[in-house]
């Protein structure tokens, strides 16, 4: 009886119905509508057309097929997918190798200096990435700065033919991605408890062992973050291959773009886009697993 009264009181105080939901709707409502219209519906559309047939004039026939997915298994496309992975992987590894010492060095500086150094890392990131890529393009041209300098120095006798090659695409990916790698690494190294390093030394471990057994496990969050922030974008950055690959280097991002804009095979482009989304999701899934483990360890 008393409980019933309490319940009634609680209910009357709460006032269910449109008035109770108003704060929720007014705050998250607009963004939800935005997300539904501009993210979810297009994604569903892409998913749907990936199972449809291309018609002769570049349109879409509403006929269900798996063909778009089976086409990807052709050696030509498999090769492109594989190459995309290879370049993204190399980019990630180099970003880690270059970014980690840099982040470690910055994290060891007093806060004011560290902020300035991080600013230096970030300035190129704020510059349009197209501008940065065209500057790489200029540098790599046969009569560009790089070749002129190397020839003047007598290191090479003929201009290197690196423009529109895998090498220059890789350089482009590095230029685009390096700032992203330093930031997560910095934030995790900066949080590293220095007394753990002292404890490791105290227990007889030299610098290498300490790095391997304490520093790396303790900064794993930053390392995984760096991998995510570099690997996923570098899989899809089609404009890098556009500017630096000159159509000679074909990666998965360029392939998707071409299917939509050049050859007008939307269903095939859509199926590749879905593949890329699935890969991204898989990587994020792995991250969330690692992330959780890390949370447990850090607390």
């Amino acid at each position: 009886m008393a409980n019933d009264q309490k319940y009634a009181l609680a209910m009357s105080g709460r006032k269910p119905g449109i008035r109770g939901k108003l704060p929720v709707l007014s705050t998250t409502g607009p963004i939800s509508i935005w997300m539904i219209i501009f993210v979810m519906l297009p994604l569903i559309y892409v998913l749907v057309i990936s199972f449809m047939t291309r018609n002769v004039y570049g349109g879409i026939e509403p006929a269900f097929t798996f063909e778009n997915y089976t086409t990807m298994l052709q050696p030509l496309y498999l090769k492109i997918i594989l190459k995309s992975f290879k370049l993204a992987f190399i980019t990630t590894v180099i970003c880690l190798i270059v970014g980690y010492p840099m982040a470690y060095w910055i994290a060891g500086k007093p806060p004011k200096t560290a902020a300035k150094l991080l600013m230096l890392v970030m300035i190129p990131y704020w510059t349009s990435s197209l501008v940065r890529l065209y500057s790489v393009n200029l540098l790599a041209m046969p009569n560009g700065f790089l070749n002129t300098a190397l020839m003047k120095l007598g290191i090479i006798s003929e201009p290197l033919d690196i423009l529109y090659s895998d090498t220059v695409v890789l350089i482009g990916l590095l230029v685009a991605c390096l700032p992203f790698s330093v930031l997560p690494l910095y934030s995790s190294i900066e949080k590293l408890d220095k007394s753990l390093l002292e404890a490791s030394k105290d227990l007889g471990a030299g610098p290498v062992t300490t790095f391997r057994r304490v520093t790396i496990p303790q900064t794993r969050g930053g390392i995984v973050g760096c991998i995510i922030l570099v690997f996923i974008p570098s899989l899809g950055m089609y404009y890098v291959t556009d500017v630096l690959g000159g159509g000679k280097v074909m990666l998965i991002g360029t392939l998707i773009k071409n299917q939509f804009l050049v050859t007008k095979n939307w269903p095939f482009g859509a199926s590749m886009a879905i593949l890329l989304i699935l890969i991204t999701l898989a990587i994020l899934l792995i991250y969330s697993k690692f992330g959780k483990m890390e949370d447990l360890e850090v607390v």
Binding site: D193, S195, L196, E198, A199, S200, D202, L203, G206, E297
Partner: protein, 361 residues
């Protein structure tokens, strides 16, 4: 006497312009429990870190077992540290934490297993092998930290305020346990704390530090009963201090004129005219309602407080800190406002030679 296990000779340490350790000499004997005690910023932790190898001395000599260690890295020294914040590796289990020192030395696995088991038994943490440090209480983490250090059989164990983060009950229990461990293993402990009671409870010897200098190095009893400097008298326990000069020496006693009246102390090698501080502990301060021969110090009873374990009487003296008298039993023969005459036995007073540098409190 055998050679000290750790010896610091004429050690100086600067942090920038800050002279934190000043010409310090310290011999630590094998198997003793030595405590570095002092207020924060006195340099006690710096000394510990120099012995461990985390800080380099700016000048001076540090030896462990007669061997110079100034140029040795922390991982090359046969000393181990228990850190203030435990510094357990969060990504490792208790087992891996304790085994760490042996693992990096590439000791065979079965031996490591055996030693870790011994250590867990020693610190009474059997069954905790698989736990992560974040799943343990402060006291348990403390034990893991101690086990992790002791498994390496260090010649010296350095402890940097290891009980600071624990609550009072647990701290007292751990004090006794640490002392038991130290006696059982017969390892030299160098212990840093700012808690005088902790230092008194556990130490064989205490080095009381202030401003980068050891003011008094002696047994707890000696430090409490016969403090060497005014600072030590004030820092360790409660004390009543009277400043004055020696008026005359009569046989084995010296008459001292203080700023609040006349008192006495053992003559020792004091001469008339020497400036001196008289230190009398509150529990041995005597009083009577009539003046006593040779003493002219008196005060008015300001208040009487029951502080739990004892009754405290404060006597007011114009221009001088209140005089404290502590007694286990309440004395109803006087009340607030009464005047009491103070005196003491010659055994209960310490004459501290007044020096310029140790006067500035």
């Amino acid at each position: 006497m055998t050679e000290p296990i750790v010896r610091l000779q004429n050690v100086n340490k600067f942090f920038g312009d800050n002279h934190v350790i000043k010409n310090l000499d310290l011999d630590i004997e094998e198997g003793e429990f030595l405590t570095l005690l002092g207020p924060s910023g006195c340099g006690k932790t710096t000394i510990l870190r120099m012995i461990a190898g985390f800080e380099d001395a700016t000048s001076g000599v540090i030896t462990v077992e007669g061997e110079h260690v100034e140029d040795k890295e922390a991982f090359e020294r046969d000393v181990n540290t228990v850190f203030q914040s435990y510094a357990l590796f969060p990504h490792m289990t208790v087992y891996d934490n304790i085994a760490y020192g042996l693992t990096v030395k590439k000791v065979p696995k079965p031996e490591i297993k055996e030693r870790v088991r011994e250590m867990l038994e020693l610190v009474q943490l059997m069954g905790f092998e698989g736990r992560r440090p974040d799943m343990m209480s402060g006291g348990q983490k403390q034990r893991v930290a101690i086990a992790r250090a002791l498994i390496n059989n260090p010649k010296v164990l350095l402890l940097d305020e290891p009980l600071g983060a624990l609550d009072l009950q647990l701290r007292k229990q751990m004090q006794i346990e640490l002392k038991r461990l130290q006696q059982k293993l017969n390892i030299t402990f160098v212990y840093v704390t700012h808690d005088q009671e902790e230092a008194m409870t556990m130490s064989d010897r205490i080095a009381v530090m202030r401003g980068g200098v050891i003011e008094h190095l002696a047994t707890p009893k000696e430090i409490y009963g016969r403090p060497k400097t005014r600072f030590v008298a004030g820092f360790i326990g409660e004390s009543n201090l009277f400043s004055g000069t020696v008026a005359s020496v009569e046989g084995d006693r010296a008459i001292v004129d203080t700023d609040v009246g006349r008192g006495m102390m053992p003559a020792e090698d004091f001469k008339p005219g020497d400036p001196v501080h008289l230190c009398v502990r509150p529990e041995v301060m005597q009083y009577s309602t009539q003046p006593v021969d040779g003493f002219t110090i008196s005060g008015q009873v300001k208040n009487m407080i029951f502080v739990g374990s004892q009754y405290r009487t404060l006597l007011e003296q114009p221009g001088h800190p209140d005089v404290k008298i502590n007694r286990v039993k309440v004395d109803n023969s006087y009340r607030e406002g009464d005047v009491l005459y103070l005196h003491w036995a010659l055994d209960d007073v310490t004459g501290i030679r007044a020096k310029e540098d140790s006067d500035g409190e």
